[in-house]
């Protein structure tokens, strides 16, 4: 007894519900500093497993006496090894993360975030990476926004609600994760939309040709506000004048980064046009639902990542920077040197230029998300 396996979804529940969690991360220091399990109630220490091969005696004083200990590594093997040593040393409440950080990177937490007489909206939180995707359900149909490659999760939610996924949109060509859009569309027979200007080479419905996507009897209007800025073909979706799915253009805590295409200043100019001409006319009460978050601090009291536009405008210094030159300078200087891991390869896969096995996709996506230009806390 006493060595338990903990699943990624159990860890996600603890992080989101703000339960205390003590983590002993046994990966090497570089990987730990780059990316780890984080949350308001998470305490973690890093001691690489290869420093524990001769025993855990020196480690014991660093561990809490009265709290369960979760050991985490890249894939599971080393955490199990260390956890077993801790149990042998007499500790009674030790567990390891099943599947390691790989499993953590892939877990999606689905939650209902909005419900009115016309639509019901789910947010899927990829807790380990900070990616968000959505499903909008109306009557018997559903539209999915920015799906990840874990198609079963969306299919299961649609099946449970007894609806058919009929439309799938990508707000832009992702640079930080592999899109599940095309595969999900093929699997469920849905229409798949993206901006043509994003450079994908397979067949899809070009969003350039749509001002609205309408489905079902309910007046669910999907207005594509073409908001260049993050990538030249970034799009936001305004649903029923109540919800703005902002993709990677506007976040709860900041703006998207325009530097990933190597033309930071030009795109920063597009982002300026978006913020001050297109988003400026949208009402303060509209709920902004972004494609990413930088930290779970961005989760609101209702338990999802999003906020009304008025609050975001008030908080965000960039959105108050009306001088275009100053705005572009600020964005370009904030852009930073850290890019999402493997972003050039991920972009090529999302464009359909190079194929990739599931294993390759998994490997490329491991690591933190760096798509948001967020303020340092």
């Amino acid at each position: 007894m006493s060595l338990n396996e903990i699943l990624a979804n159990e860890v996600a529940n603890k992080v989101i519900n703000k339960e205390p969690l003590f983590i002993l991360d046994v990966r090497n220091e570089t990987d730990y500093n780059d990316w780890k399990v984080e949350g308001e109630t998470v305490t973690s220490i890093n001691v690489p497993y290869f420093d524990l091969l001769d025993g855990v005696d020196e480690l014991l004083p660093k561990l809490p006496k009265d709290q369960p200990i979760l050991v985490v590594c890249a894939k599971e093997g080393s955490s199990k090894f260390v956890a077993e040593s801790l149990v042998e040393a007499g500790l009674t409440n030790v567990s390891y993360l099943s599947g390691g950080m790989k499993a953590w990177s892939e877990y999606l937490y689905p939650t209902t975030i909005y419900h009115d007489e016309n639509v019901k909206v789910y947010q899927f939180i990829r807790v380990g990476k900070g990616c968000l995707s959505y499903m909008i359900i109306s009557e018997n149909e559903a539209l999915v926004i920015d799906p990840s490659r874990f198609l079963d999760v969306y299919e299961n939610v649609a099946n449970n609600d007894g609806v058919k996924i009929s439309h799938i949109v990508d707000s832009h060509l992702h640079a930080d994760h592999i899109s599940g859009g095309r595969d999900l569309a093929n699997r469920v027979g849905a229409k798949y939309y993206m901006m043509k200007s994003e450079g994908a080479i397979y067949d899809f419905h070009a969003l350039e040709e749509y001002t609205h996507i309408e489905f079902e009897k309910v007046n669910l209007e999907v207005l594509a506000v073409k908001t260049p800025g993050h990538t030249p073909g970034s799009v936001s979706f305004l649903v029923n004048d109540k919800l703005l799915f902002s993709g990677d253009t506007i976040f709860v805590g900041g703006l998207g980064r325009p530097d990933l295409g190597g033309k930071a200043a030009e795109w920063a100019g597009d982002l300026y046009e978006t913020v001050f001409n297109k988003v400026a006319v949208i009402a303060d009460e509209v709920i902004v639902l972004p494609g990413h978050y930088a930290s779970l601090d961005e989760m609101n009291s209702e338990g999802f990542v999003g906020d009304i536009l008025g609050n975001i405008r008030n908080r965000n210094e960039m959105m108050k920077t009306k001088d275009k030159t100053e705005f572009i300078e600020k964005v370009a200087s904030n852009a930073g040197s850290e890019t999402p891991p493997n972003y050039e390869e991920i972009v090529a896969i999302n464009r359909g230029i190079i194929p990739a096995s599931d294993e390759k996709k998994q490997e490329l996506e491991i690591g933190p998300n760096r798509c948001a230009l967020h303020h340092k806390h």
Partner: protein, 75 residues
Amino acid sequence: MNADKILDVKGLACPMPIVKTKKFIDTMESGQVLEIHATDKGAINDLPAWANSTGHELVKMDEEADVLKFWVKKV
């Protein structure tokens, strides 16, 4: 690069490549070079970090047909 010994840990997953490397190098003389062949990608970051932590010198790293090769000089 001439090695005094060769250790094959291909097909083994983390933590075994390092566990075996440590055990093996413990039997070697100071200044001798161990050549390690591994396939677990975790070794790319872990082996240099382990060498750094123990004081052994990572002399060279290479990849040939999906096999990772490391040359480590015992401290």
